[in-house]
Symmetry: C2
Subunit: 367 residues, 2 copies
């Protein structure tokens, strides 16, 4: 296992050296975890020039702790409240580095200034999103974790569908789903579970309310599990009662067609924006051009919303082994709507095409 | 209600003008909420010079939305992915401001640079923690919300104590507590609920595991409710079984004495560090000088961990109407420990002294 992290750090170090920085400081928690195998709260990771060091915030007690975690030297200074990033700057300077690449999209202005003051001779360069870029393509172990996360979410959702729904509130259904995720072995929910009923259904990221499920409602649910830190996402919409209304069937079929078009556009080499357009144009042709919010989908991994963004203005092309969501939706104000969301892994055609991780049926179920 | 927010903004505006900035941009979500009554995801608040404007991230659809929320002009630009903070810079410039105070402890380096580029003639100053300082002393409406939050947490904890605990896992107990918080009207948990059993008990911020409650265990629980955005905290330690062991009684009495000393030190004018020392020296006298981590307590409000910090190196003195936690603990590696945590409001002696919000008993209960 530890070799995986060492290899990732080597790739980052090579990039930094090529860009003129002999050392880098990684502060964004998901990036620290990706490179060091774990990210204690507030820890930062110094990459090179001599050695990689995971610096943690001060611990209680007078003695500095030191050890090794997955080949990374681990240091915890004694109490005193010094920012580990400032300690790292000192270490980089002592090791002879003249420049240190830092995550300017994560560090605050105040913290960056404190680091600059701590070692005046050291130039602070921008690491930019170099680690996020490394994280886009997953290895099979990462995909394995996502696959288990998706199984857990499918199980939790499946059990909910077997229970009585009418009369229960969005908030209680959301809490029950989260409990079931943990029951089935999730670290926890991948993000706050969304349950939306009636007029709320189909709203992206709807925060559950005390509204109760009623006969005739659309019910849309979006949940995900985190497993070994990897986060998946699934969204489904159901009808409550025996016979869906015509407008419900029509709207469902439209969103389903858009979501299928998006899924089918997933292939190595496909432009991000083309996947977005594939789904979006199905909705636009039916008069719902502005229906799907900013994006049709996004990458998932150690964070629930990672690169790439499948959006109209996104630049770049998909690679194999990139897990993404495809999640178009339409919401009709006052009436409700439909959202269908899967997590898939981009695969070569020869490998069977996109691998669907979230396998709960997408037929319109009447519950 | 809206006057409360307008008054808060006036106080901030006066401070900024006195410091040489005719306008300020508030980006930290809790600060936005404090000043505008709400903080849509990603929204920033521009204070003056002409008018206060809450700028939200782009919405789906081609049209910019605009309206008024609690006397704040509310603007949502059309899609396009422009950072609202960059839009705010342009507005401040157009209104004739020559300087804009920003939250350097919240804005990232990358975002700050984008703002600087958007209006080269505008000087970006540092607002520093001006809003956090305003937030320390609460008004009676804020304290009323905290009081209800504490009642909810007390109720959830009380119900748990009436249920059967032996054999259940830390994770399930934590989930059940969170469900009960919501049942009793909380927006949600104020922070991830901590349930720690046996050797895990007494560890600050312990993340619940699959360990099951056993006879003879210490069980320590830390939870809080959020109500109308205001967050409280309560922590208690219990013994499972009929008769606590001698070492358990001794340790409990020690931590209880330390926590009582901390509570009794709460008074307007008391130095933060003196409250910390009051609790810490009780533990130190019994040979647990390094037991309590960095701090004995902290402020609570719209965030669960706010100013002030009741810690050895903290500068400053308590005011009346400041809600804080007092939460010393001792953990004996391999055996477990005790943590007792209350939320109290600092009050004048003439008003009855510190007001205890979390009223669950602190007797050592055997469950």
């Amino acid at each position: 296992m530890s070799e995986v992290y060492a290899e990732r750090r080597t790739r980052l170090r090579d990039r930094c050296v090529a860009a003129g920085s002999p050392a880098a400081l990684v502060s964004r928690p998901a990036n620290v975890r990706y490179l060091a195998g774990g990210s204690p709260v507030g820890a930062v990771l110094l990459i090179g020039p001599d050695e990689d060091v995971l610096l943690c915030p001060a611990a209680p007690g007078p003695d500095p702790a030191e050890g090794r975690v997955d080949e990374v030297l681990y240091r915890q200074p004694p109490t005193g409240g010094v920012d580990p990033a400032v300690v790292a700057v000192g270490l980089a300077r002592t090791a002879g580095a003249d420049a240190l690449a830092v995550e300017e999209h994560h560090l605050t202005v105040a913290r960056h200034r404190a680091m600059g003051s701590a070692a005046p001779g050291l130039r602070l360069a921008d690491l930019s999103s170099a680690v996020e870029q490394l994280r886009i393509v997953k290895d099979e172990e990462e995909i394995g974790s996502l696959r288990i996360a998706a199984e857990i979410a499918d199980q939790a959702l499946g059990e909910l569908l077997e229970s009585i729904l009418v009369g229960r509130t969005e908030r209680h259904l959301a809490l029950e789903l989260e409990r079931r995720l943990v029951d089935h072995g999730a670290d926890g929910p991948a993000f706050p579970t969304s349950v939306a009923t009636g007029p709320n259904s189909g709203v992206s990221g709807h925060k559950p309310t005390d509204r109760r499920v009623e006969e005739g409602d659309f019910l849309s649910v979006c949940l995900g599990a985190s497993y070994h830190g990897y986060r998946c996402e699934i969204g489904r919409t159901f009808v409550i009662g025996t016979t869906p209304a015509d407008w419900q069937i029509e709207l469902y079929e439209l969103v389903f067609a858009a979501q299928r078009a998006g899924r089918q556009a997933l292939a190595p080499g496909a432009a991000y924006r083309d996947v977005d357009r594939a789904a979006r144009q199905v909705l636009a042709a039916a008069g719902h051009g502005d229906a799907t919010a900013g994006l049709t989908g996004h990458g998932v991994g150690l964070e629930i919303d990672e690169d790439p963004q499948l959006a109209p203005a996104a630049m770049g092309k998909l690679d194999a082994c990139v897990p993404v969501t495809v999640e178009p939706g339409v919401h009709l104000p006052g009436r409700g709507g439909v959202r269908i969301d899967d997590t898939l892994v981009v695969r070569q055609e020869a490998d069977g095409g996109p691998e669907l991780l979230t396998i709960t049926t997408k037929e319109l179920l009447a519950l």
